[in-house]
Amino acid sequence: MAVVEITGVSKRYGDVPAVENFNLTTKDGEFVVLVGPSGCGKTTTMRMIAGLESVTEGSIRIGGRDVVGMIPKERDVAMVFQNYALFPHMNVFGNLSFGLRLRKVAESEIKEEVHKAAKILNIEHLLARKPRELSGGERQRVALGRAIVRKPKVFLMDEPLSNIDAKLRVEMRAEISKLQRRLAVTTFYVTHDQVEALSMGDRVVVMLKGHIQQVGTPKELFNSPSNRFVAGFIGSPSMNFVRARVGPQGAVAAGDNFHLILPSGLFAAVARRGLDQVWVGIRPEHLKLDRGTPTDDNLIRSVVEVVEPQGSTTIMQLSVGSETRLIAQFNEQLDREPGTPLTLSVAPESIYLFDPATDESIR
């Protein structure tokens, strides 16, 4: 159990920055997810915590100790790798006991701890097998087991579920969450899958090109994204973005068929910034069918392009005017022919606005 404080950490390869100014202080036992597209620096950050990458600038403290410069062994962290990295020439027992053996722990104690960990993960019956004889899911448990056996201060997990098929993944997600809560060890979890991030993290760190975009609880990220990237990255299907002109009377418009009236507070914020153009963000699930009057000016008039039934919901691709496309998700089974018109409305509180120059959200 430990609090991890990462202050001003940067990693540069020569002139090329991989991570810039990463700041985060965890709570003890917190599950922190680092999420972002490939190349955003999430794995590099985690490897710096582990000691597998050197730190160009900044400090990392684990349990109060500054670990920059310490070899991984001295940091007392454990890591689960994307491809499991099980030692192929050792059996499961050997893999699990590796860290303890290197620390010259007594044999009887090793046996005890290994069996304990194996029991938690339900792999006791596999202890004599070699990794090549195990299934993907079993290997993953062994990888987890290797991490928990040592009772480290911090768990680091590098996309452990990426190589597992979808169905098993959902199951494993829940198991890892349960395990982490049971062991109450501060955990860093890297993934590129935002669904995974939202469902597992106490807090989520969204990264892009080496910079932190936003840190918050899943709810905060979803409801109050701080910039357009986070807004578009979190949530599936992704948020729609429409470039609109700021009109008089507290409205935004894009062409003749897109005209929305903003809540007064939001419009004031826009006016304060002196903007004449904004990005309007609307989540697909917030687009509602409207049978409003043809003269109503708080509507979106669209034409159906593609209909994708999703079981109990329906996703549609719609075109607005000649340039804008929207994705809408309806909570019912809706049938429409491509080419038919569809009128939509949005609740004012579901409208997000972003500054076109900085992509920051406007509140």
Partner: protein, 294 residues
């Protein structure tokens, strides 16, 4: 449709055998035939200019086996191999590990380090004479600076030692190359996983590097053993088997018997005997290695 398919399969078969045929014929003609021919000569009495005059049964073999020089040459060859191969393997592997762990610039190091593999053995052997000779030789001079004097070229053990040193110089890079490749083939995250728990890189070598590179190392050892038992060029150019016949490796002795004394029958018998012995040794060794792998 079926007819087209059958024609397709037939032309494929023709292609597959046609591509293979020239090489197979060549091998049969130039490998099998000469071996049988050698066996043939081993039972015969060959006179230069007249060919095989008569068959003498096992006489050649008996002559070879009762020749002390033959056994001596086996002994010398054995020493040569037993000393040079383990050193080459150990040095090559350790160097490969150090380079894997170590400083950037691996490519340049590797490029330089590989050069000896491509050098001409007899040239190095002849150069070696100038390096090990007591008058002005490089090694002799360097040793004299620290007060040592070793009679390299004047004695059997000195000559053998010099040959071994040069062999190590030339062939360690071979093991190095293979070890380097084997170590590089280990996935990075396995190194990572071990580094997470290890106090230093030797621990990583012992627990991960060596075990996972071992299968390839057995091939390297086997190949060096096979080649080592056949060594000819370097020692021959270095010592000519001398002083006298004291550093005559097997291949040197057989060569001289055949080419200098033109005793083809005896030379062939010697060769066949050696082939049998070497095959046995290699097979036993190979099986031992296979057992260790499991």
């Amino acid at each position: 449709m079926e007819r087209l398919e059958k024609a397709g399969i037939r032309s494929e078969r023709a292609f597959k055998y046609a591509m293979l045929a020239p090489a197979v014929l060549w091998v049969v003609g130039f490998t099998f035939f000469p071996i049988f021919s050698a066996i043939n000569y081993s039972f015969a009495n060959y006179v230069l200019g007249r060919g095989i005059t008569r068959y003498v049964g096992l006489q050649n073999y008996i002559n070879v086996l009762s020749d002390g020089g033959f056994w001596y040459s086996l002994f010398i060859t054995l020493i040569f191999v037993v000393v040079s191969v383990p050193i080459e393997v150990a040095l090559g592997f350790l160097l490969a590990w150090m380079i894997t762990v170590g400083p950037p610039g691996k490519g340049l190091f590797r490029a330089i380090f590989i050069a000896p593999l491509f050098t001409m053995e007899v040239a190095i052997g002849y150069l070696g004479v100038t390096m090990f000779t007591s008058q002005g030789g490089m090694v002799a001079t360097l040793l004299s600076w620290i007060g040592l004097e070793v009679p390299w070229m004047a004695t059997a053990s000195g000559g053998l030692a010099a040959a071994i040193l040069l062999d190590i110089w030339q062939w360690t890079p071979f093991v190095f190359l293979m070890a380097l490749a084997a170590l590089a083939a280990i996935p990075n995250d396995i190194y990572d996983a071990a580094t997470l728990e290890a106090s230093n890189h030797w621990q990583v070598l012992w627990h991960v590097g060596l075990p996972l590179a071992w299968p390839v190392m057995t091939v390297a050892i086997l190949l060096r053993l096979i080649e080592g038992l056949k060594t000819f060029g370097l020692p021959f150019a270095l010592t000519s088997g001398g002083p006298g016949t004291s550093t005559q490796l097997f291949s040197i002795k057989d060569y001289l018997t055949t080419i200098q004394f033109f005793d083809f029958g005896r030379g062939s018998a010697m060769g066949i005997l050696y082939l049998i012995m070497v095959s046995v040794v290699i097979t036993v060794f190979f099986q031992q290695m296979r057992k260790r792998l499991e």
